[in-house]
Symmetry: C2
Subunit: 288 residues, 2 copies
């Protein structure tokens, strides 16, 4: 999915968030914003939003001399999600359809996105979780997902954000054992999950975790490592979490299930749904 | 009040709104956005937001060859407010404190702001009006306002947006007759009220209406006409509606009451209040 002009205000907001996480020096804020304005004024409009986000966050990290401006937010998100984990696990256990409940929670966890929200308090996450339990999710689509994960030999699960990956863990614990590889970003960008977050979420003890070799807030295949490509090619099913992965892979020739909470009008238009909606959608070759 | 970096995403959103009101041609959208990016990347950060908004909306009007991109939105807002007028008038009439009720409604009307909102439906306006009737407004401040308008010899009322000026009419009808001059912008900018809107709201039949001679979305005194200056100097009380007028006049040496609904975090920080709050605040010389 290509970038839209509507993404520009959002990129600027992200820039302000990131520089303010790192320093209170307003001169630095202004200098970085000007560098980002310069960059977005010269972008190739055929790129995906994560490809531009990648360049912007490189500028931010370089200019602030901080390799991971969102580290504190990621820690907070992981801690919140780990606090919620026992009760969410209980909910899945007591559910009449544990896989569906785990899918709902994995989608709800996608609300933990500092690319879209400047702030995110615990109450907002809990509210989203509660909403996810009752919101409409096509039972036929859930059945299709259950069938696909049952049939698959190798599943590649593309994570999205810190905190959210604790919710991913809940879903992975409901998937057939031995099939799943979990992929994280290759380096910090936004509040996207890296290996460190996978460790904190307990995912590294559960499944193979690989880094994708890229610092894009999404999965730009040509920017990923050879190790990642191999795993991607080997897998006969991909589970892709979040907007960034959707933006990069929505047109790809591969059996992919996209799980996300729709957080912006651009994505909503592309998906033909409303902002706030929970999405479980099969893309790729099988929907053609 | 000077511009903040947080204003930039908002300027870009305004640009997108305005060009889309005028044309569906995406090449024009992109061209105008690039021109605006160029402009904001070279702004003098000591200016007020309306001073920058003025330049941006000039670029938009020139590039789209449309002198009034918000005309349809302004018509819609005026019509909605005129439909609501009879019942609001009734509410004031039946109120135990008609002036306070009129002040509340005038502040609520400030929600009709396309500088902040991309869309605004009738339900949102009605909801804001309902909220305005119950929201906390310091009775002492209302008394101070009543005293000031009673004592004043000449009142200059600075309007803000189309639609909103029907709410201003409701307040002006409660002010002492013969004292008020109503000022509109000198040319179209955003959805700010011009003489045309004052006519549609029935204000021209009620009080003297003057144009301020400027196309800024606020009151930049040095950019206003000599006729406006005279009226401004003569008046011993100014009623200034909305964020744009606040941003321009918050530091001025004059007896001003600011009436606005706080719609953005930058203004909220400056005022020391929350977004969404209704503000009746005396500024200028008397508060020093």
């Amino acid at each position: 999915m290509r970038v839209f002009l509507d993404c520009l205000p959002c990129f600027l907001r992200q820039t302000l968030d990131a520089v303010r996480f790192v320093t209170n020096d307003e001169q630095i804020h202004e200098r970085v914003v000007r560098q980002v304005l310069e960059l977005v004024n010269n972008i190739d409009a055929g790129q995906t939003p994560p490809a531009i986000g990648q360049q912007i966050h490189r500028v931010i990290r370089r200019a602030t001399e901080n390799v991971d401006p969102y580290r504190q937010r990621k820690d907070d998100s992981n801690e919140l999600a780990m606090r919620l984990y026992p009760q969410l696990k209980e909910r899945i256990k007591n559910s009449s359809h544990p896989l569906e409940m785990a899918v709902r929670l994995a989608i709800a966890g996608n609300v933990m996105d500092f690319g879209v929200y400047s702030t995110l308090d615990d109450a907002e996450v809990v509210k989203t979780v509660d909403r996810a339990l009752v919101e409409g999710l096509d039972p036929a689509r859930v059945e299709e997902f259950a069938q696909a994960v049952g049939d698959a030999r190798e599943i590649l699960y593309l994570g999205d954000n810190a905190g959210e990956i604790v919710f991913d863990r809940l879903l992975i614990e409901e998937l057939p054992p031995g099939k799943v590889t979990f992929a994280v970003r290759g380096a910090p960008v936004l509040n996207d999950a890296t290996r460190e977050d996978a460790e904190r979420a307990g995912l590294t003890d559960l499944v193979a975790v690989i880094e994708n070799g890229s610092d894009a807030p999404g999965t730009i295949l040509e920017d990923c490592s050879e190790q990642f490509w191999q795993r991607f090619d080997q897998s006969d099913l991909v589970i892709a979490k979040g907007q960034g992965n959707y933006e990069c892979l929505s047109g790809i020739d591969k059996d992919v299930f996209f799980l996300l909470t729709v957080k912006c009008p651009v994505i909503a238009t592309d998906l033909g749904c409303d902002v706030g909606q929970m999405i479980l959608r099969r893309g790729g070759v099988t929907s053609k």
